[in-house]
């Protein structure tokens, strides 16, 4: 009787997908999608034709970076294109080249690709950003299915392809990549996660749960590809030190890469998210070698022991204890993996953090821990889209899903925000890369989302009544963004730790500026920077609601290491 009553009481229109996203009246959007009106006109094209070719479902990538040093974030969008026209596996034509967009100020963009030299024609996946040659200009490394490309920033919006001279044109299927100074010798080394050994000849026929043709699971190929580590020689060239560093000891279908000091020994380690296999935590031994400590540290798999489909990665100290906590995004049916760094090992706190059930129905790729509402707690954005067809459909694009936005409650606790993904209406797309930065410099961090076979989204932060904020650009003695320098920030009796980071998420590079939400606090008392060589400098105090540049040598000695 009860059930009959229930049935009678229910009903209403079914929403595509599980019918679980009914939006309450009065909910405020956090973002509005403004790509087209702001001139960011980019439509990713996977090149999908008759066959289901695995690379088609994994792109595309994007970066927010300041290419010309004017303080505005420019955008780089990675294109894919046909893999198999007439059986050719070669790169696409002119219409399938990567695009560069110049920020004209205020978050308005113009296409600056023509003549820039940044229009790499490869079958693009992702992009890393960093000043590898220490000239103060941010360079780009583009990963492709096929040879990757290093684009040296010449200034004034021009780039030069120096791949061959630099020796970094790995011919495999590159996914996420990261610039970081592995050996702390003052120049940026390069880590490239490779996905799998793939070619048209080795493509397989696979089928969805529903029985029709679909993309394969990477495990079908049994062709995991070893990642690549390039050591920067400081003269414009790199040396492949993959095997010498010990990366041949373990690898999987690599997708996400995040450098950071996970074990607190002052050396930069690397976390790699692998698709359907053990993740790796490459612990820097300080002698040029890396040892995978993920299993022993409890972060190779989740608490249940599941080898999840690791995609995007985020890391930050969210519990203010001075070490890097970790989030790995995974496939539909698998929850996120939220790991609290307990100083020596990782504890899976996904359920306690409120992410288990909420993340599980979606396939999450791009990811970022960003304080969007400036309340002093990092929120969580996840860019979603399927890799295989399922019965619950959200849009005409059968791979499309809504993205997710979680409000950070502090201490690694999250709560999903509606409207879903923070936009009204929710956006349904096959999202991949998500890059983060304040493109209109209004104190609210915006999101660039690259969508497979769809237009890129530029999500302008429109959260009402955002808290106060401070944006910190941290530059080393050469004027380069001091990647992986750590910041100890004292504000209102709270001590926070943040890191200068461009590489995280999936196939993406984000603004390395450290964005701090301050809530109602009007002043940051001090910022102590620990540079990569261990020297510490103190800066501040700083009043809120402004951008500040911290240059090495301009602070006060802080002592300690």
């Amino acid at each position: 009787m009860l059930l009959l009553t229930a049935s009678a009481a229910c009903g209403g229109p079914a929403e595509n997908g599980g019918g679980r996203t009914a939006e309450p009246a009065g909910a405020s959007a956090w973002f509005e999608e403004v790509a087209a009106e702001r001139g960011l006109l980019f439509v990713h094209d996977s090149g999908h034709g008759e066959r289901y070719l695995m690379p088609e479902i994994m792109g595309g990538g994007g970066a927010l970076f300041d290419m010309d040093g004017d303080g505005d974030l420019d955008a780089y969008l990675v294109q894919s294109g046909p893999l198999a026209p007439g059986g050719s596996e070669g790169p696409g034509g002119d219409s399938f080249r990567n695009r560069l967009f110049r920020n004209l100020g205020g978050g308005r963009f113009e296409d600056a690709t023509g003549g820039s030299g940044a229009d790499d024609p490869g079958y693009g996946m992702g992009v890393a950003a960093g000043d590898y040659d220490n000239d103060g200009r941010t360079d780009l490394y583009v990963t492709n299915v096929g040879p990757n490309a290093l684009l040296r920033n010449l200034g004034s919006g021009r780039f030069e392809d120096v791949t061959a001279a630099a020796g970094v044109g790995h011919p495999g299927w590159g996914a996420s990549a990261a610039f970081f100074d592995l050996d702390d010798d003052g120049d940026l080394d390069l880590y490239v996660a490779n996905y799998l050994h793939w070619s048209l000849a080795t493509e397989l026929d696979c089928f969805s749960d529903l029985g029709g043709p679909d993309y394969c699971n990477p495990q079908n190929y049994r062709s995991e590809a070893m990642d690549v580590l390039y050591r920067n020689e400081g003269d414009g060239t790199f040396t492949d030190v993959t095997v010498a560093a010990g990366l041949d000891a373990a690898f999987g279908n690599g997708l996400g890469v995040l450098p950071g000091d996970f074990d607190g020994d002052g050396r930069l380690d690397v976390f790699v998210a692998n698709d359907g296999d053990l993740d790796q935590l490459w612990l820097n031994q300080g002698d040029g070698t890396l040892v995978d400590g993920a299993l022993a540290a409890g972060c190779a798999v989740d608490l249940e022991g599941k080898r999840k489909a690791g995609m995007g990665v985020a890391a930050a100290d969210l519990d203010d204890d001075g070490d890097l906590d970790l989030l790995v995004c995974n496939l539909r049916g698998e929850s996120d993996s939220l790991f609290r760094n307990e100083g020596g090992y990782f504890r899976d706190v996904t359920v306690a953090g409120g992410l288990a059930a909420a993340s599980r129905p979606f396939t999450r790729f791009g990811v970022g821990w960003v304080d969007f509402d400036n309340d002093g707690q990092e929120d969580l954005y996840e860019a979603n889209g399927r890799v295989t067809i399922h019965s619950e459909l959200y849009a005409e694009d059968v791979y499309a899903e809504p993205n997710l936005l979680f409000r950070g409650l502090g201490d690694l606790q999250f709560e999903e925000v509606l409207p879903r993904g923070g936009t009204r209406p929710p956006l349904y797309a096959t999202s991949r890369a998500a890059a983060f930065g304040d493109v209109d410099r209004d104190g609210g961090v915006d999101v660039l989302v690259v969508n497979r076979d769809g237009p890129a989204h530029l999500l302008r932060n429109v959260f009402p009544h955002r808290g106060r904020w401070l944006s910190l650009r941290v530059l080393d003695e050469r004027g380069r963004d001091a990647l992986n320098a750590t910041l100890e920030i004292e504000t209102g009796g709270r001590r926070r730790h943040r890191e200068v980071r461009a590489a995280s998420s999936y196939l993406a590079a984000s603004d390395p500026r450290v964005h701090l939400g301050l809530g109602a606090t009007e002043t940051v008392d001090s910022v102590t920077v620990r540079w990569r060589d261990g020297v510490r400098e103190r800066f501040g105090p700083f009043p809120a609601d402004r951008e500040v540049t911290l240059r090495r040598g301009e602070g006060r000695p802080a002592g300690g290491t």
Partner: protein
């Protein structure tokens, strides 16, 4: 699932997630029914994604249900057919319609729970599974899944109740204590988790999931070495306990993928003849189908029917000449037939098509050993290890070949590395002892033999190596 609506105030800290704060069971079930109702039949778009056989099976079940709309069994069967084809929304709707007419059918509640979980609604799934257990408290798989769903929903007290009920009902079954240990870990009670898991492992030492949880508990207790050892033993995902109700649903799958997967399952279960019958029938219908041809080849090969296997592999190669698998299969056939040169040529062809396929290099090494070319075999094994570096089998084969070739310094280096990577595998220490002994490093050989014993090597194996290198074998001690 927690959601924040709008931009209103959020309570500081984590919202309470206790049974007391949660919706009562009956209300939860009611609410589960009140989520925006999915359509009772598959949409045209969903149907278009199905293959013909699946579409036909669903059509038949739908027609049968529509023929007798008041018959809950037919509606539930329709739900199960949808369920079998991962059409979660229509499955949920159909099960609910059936349960509206026959609300005391525990099995349908349980299947509804799985369908709800398929949509991502774990709280709804748990509520439905709870109802199933009220009606049939004897169905053990429901307790296990119920506990897992409550855990995912963040309601660990409810999960604890479910697992405790399982432990009480079937005390000898690991589901109850495993689940209780999982709850304890969620609560940060690593000591209780450890106690429960050690009990489970006493009874079921091969349960890798228990070792996985124990490893995490050890880390939390500040025992990194024990934790690392348990976790290195192999990440064990949650076990899947026999679930006859769900198996019945799985058997309703139709279509191409179902056929292939069923054939592969039959092959894995050693039921080659049944697999061959299925695949041969499929090949008659789809002679141009690469996957059917290749899988049929593997089925024939597995049952020793080499000539038919070769024919099937050749058919697969004709359909997809760029694939490395058919020539590899054909190479394996020729190898078994004793035609090693042809086998090698075919394997080389497979490698040319896909140089990154570890199994091809493994096969090449095997053939080269048969051709008594151990140096070349070693090179192939090393190539295989490049693409499958975690394979113990490959690593051990490499050590064996180094031994055969008398390359003692290389054997020492390789074995030493393996002892670092796999400190619990005694074989690495035995090979290290052999290499050290052959190199005249008696002290190193003794140390390696002691480590081998500590890692669990048999005294006989240790003695054999000791004798070979002229050492007194160490005795196993406390």
């Amino acid at each position: 699932m927690r959601r924040l609506e709008g931009t209103g105030a959020v309570s500081p800290g984590r919202p309470a997630r206790s049974a007391a704060a949660a919706v009562p069971l009956a209300l939860a079930i009611l609410l589960a029914g009140c989520r925006a109702e999915p359509p009772a039949t598959a949409t045209a778009v969903q149907t278009a994604l199905l293959d013909d056989a699946a579409r036909q099976r669903i059509g038949e079940a739908l027609a049968a249900a529509d023929e007798r709309p008041r018959d809950p069994a037919r509606r539930a069967r329709l739900g199960a057919v949808y369920h079998a084809h991962a059409l979660w929304g229509p499955a949920v709707a159909s099960y609910r319609q059936a349960l509206a007419r026959a609300p005391r059918r525990a099995r349908w509640w349980y299947l509804l729970a799985h369908a709800l979980a398929g949509t991502g609604d774990v709280e709804g799934a748990a509520a439905a599974a709870g109802r199933a257990l009220e009606l049939d408290p004897a169905y053990l798989p429901a307790y296990w899944n119920l506990g897992l769903w409550w855990l995912q929903a963040g309601l660990d007290d409810r999960a604890e109740t479910a697992f405790a009920a399982a432990a009480e009902r079937v005390p000898d079954h690991p589901a109850g204590p495993l689940g209780l240990a999982r709850v304890a870990l969620e609560r940060g009670d690593a000591e209780r988790a450890t106690a429960l898991l050690e009990t489970v492992l006493e009874r079921s030492p091969g349960l890798t999931y228990a070792r996985q949880l124990l490893g995490n508990a050890s880390l939390a207790l500040g025992r990194p070495a024990e934790g690392a050892a348990a976790l290195a033993g192999g990440a064990g995902a949650p076990p899947s306990f026999p679930d006859p109700w769900l198996d019945e649903v799985r058997r309703l799958r139709a279509g191409y993928r179902a056929l292939i997967e069923e054939a592969q399952a039959l092959l894995a279960a050693g039921r080659s003849q049944e697999a061959i019958e299925q695949l041969a029938a499929a090949q008659r219908d789809h002679p141009e189908d690469y996957v059917v041809a290749y899988t049929l080849g593997t089925a024939y090969f597995g049952s020793g029917r080499l000539a038919e296997a070769a024919t099937a592999f050749e058919a697969a190669a004709a359909v997809q000449p760029g694939s490395h698998l058919p020539p590899l299969g054909l190479g394996a056939v020729r190898e078994l037939e004793g035609d090693f040169e042809t086998a090698l040529a075919l394997t080389d062809r497979a490698i040319a098509l896909n140089p990154a396929y570890a199994n091809a290099h493994r096969q090449r090494a095997r053939i080269l050993r048969r051709l008594e070319r151990p140096a070349a075999a070693l090179a192939s094994i090393e190539e295989a290890l490049r693409y499958d570096p975690r394979s113990l089998e490959l690593a051990e084969t490499r050590l064996r070949l180094l031994e055969e070739l008398g390359r003692w310094p290389d054997l020492a280096t390789a074995a030493e590395r393996l002892t670092r990577d796999l400190p619990h595998w005694p074989g690495g220490f035995l090979y290290l002892a052999l290499a050290r002994g052959e190199l005249g490093d008696a002290a190193g050989a003794r140390a390696a033999l002691r480590n081998a014993l500590a890692a669990g090597a048999g005294q006989q194996a240790v003695t054999a190596i000791a004798n070979r290198v002229g050492l007194q074998p160490p005795a196993a001690g406390p």
